[in-house]
Symmetry: D2
Subunit: 137 residues, 4 copies
């Protein structure tokens, strides 16, 4: 299993008049989590795009347990439970606030796709190699 963490400070633009973070913004928090997870592998999502590969989001599922609030310092935990064996990758996520309360759990499914021809491709070998060591006994 591969786990990585990223911290995000909630700024004003993310709040709504209920006094909480607008539910639609959590997709961005999970995006930041994934990006920083990939960076810990010595890679960037930007590198992936420069290889002519994009990773469109195919499905998202988020459960909102407790609201994040203005100026909270949240932690996004990004979890890869298995190595993708085809074009499909599932990122699991958990978001905590500074009091270690679990605010949100999520699943984001993406595809690896070649921009040229817009066809699905398996996970790039360079990335797979980096990730495999986290799944060894």
């Amino acid at each position: 299993m591969f786990i990585a963490e990223a911290n995000i400070r909630i700024h004003y633009a993310l709040t709504d008049q209920m006094g909480f973070v607008y539910h639609g913004h959590y997709a961005q928090f999970y995006e930041i989590g994934r990006t920083e997870a990939i960076r810990t592998l010595g890679y960037t999502y930007k590198d992936i795009e420069s290889m002519g590969i994009i990773m469109p989001v195919i499905e998202t599922r988020f459960k909102f347990l407790l609201p994040a609030k203005y100026d909270d310092l949240i932690t996004v935990k990004t979890i890869l439970k298995e190595i993708p064996d085809n074009h499909r990758i599932v990122f699991y996520g958990e978001i905590y606030n500074q009091s270690a309360q679990l605010l949100n759990v999520g699943e984001v499914t993406m595809y690896f796709m070649q921009v040229e021809g817009m066809k699905k491709i398996p996970m790039p070998k360079e990335l797979k190699d980096k990730i495999e060591k986290y799944f060894l006994q």
Copy 2:
């Protein structure tokens, strides 16, 4: 069954460098769909809040079938399959582009809550009365 439709023009701010609408923005499209659905009942979500009731989002599930693009005129179909019999309401949604292609399907679960004391309450009678006629044989 209660069905309502709303149209949204995709502006530049909603696109990302993949050339598509960023996946995180669909939550807003479904929000606009719900709001306009409630308005067709002769109510507004603003009215609901002025009654001291809020409707936090508890869960979202979105499937991204085809991307929306800049300047697309999308249609959000909001569907209520059953009358809530407690504090929980589920809105189903479908998003189409101007060529009638299905781009996205979604489910958004919300709770009815009283702001005072932040406790769950059943769907307000005023709203339930409005909606029941759509579910008569």
Copy 3:
């Protein structure tokens, strides 16, 4: 002088915990105003981009007189005071709410640029022809 109007309904995502529309979102309102202004000329900004031309924003200046609120139906008035005679175009704007209160005044300066080589170019003749009739005595 060329003037065009567009209407926007304020949805929840645009509010912040002050109970008003977050100031950073007005740039989007003016963008929507410009886009619809161009559309009334029988053109779209999408057409302009498909000609290999982009219009990056070079400067914005907004004055916030009164706040827009949730569910307001605002009107964005987009004003072109003169025909551009080089690569620079200035859009003036005014935003009103449904009670005809002036909420915001703005100026957005953009350049016409050719994507290829990223160089400044004069306003495309096709667009200039459309706009000239609004400036005849």
Copy 4:
């Protein structure tokens, strides 16, 4: 003069199909800059709000010199050139990328207002005391 710096990593949601950061998002960058500037004074904007004071934005002016791009690590420099002597405060800002290129310069004018009665008030003494030491010879 009081100067503070904050760093922000550009995530995907902030880009648009031009391949740059959408111009409307810079307001958020300057907001984050101001918030972190206040935090370095041993205060938070959240503290200010809990004193019953809000700081609505009255005017913004941004110049876009060079575009920020995906995955850039930008630095927002927040500058206070003088101590406010009434309800009005002006924050100057500069945004740089990781190559020390100046991308954006901005001015944001805010008012100190008491939520109760929504009336303008001078800068709170607690905050003024913190800031005065930066302006001594």
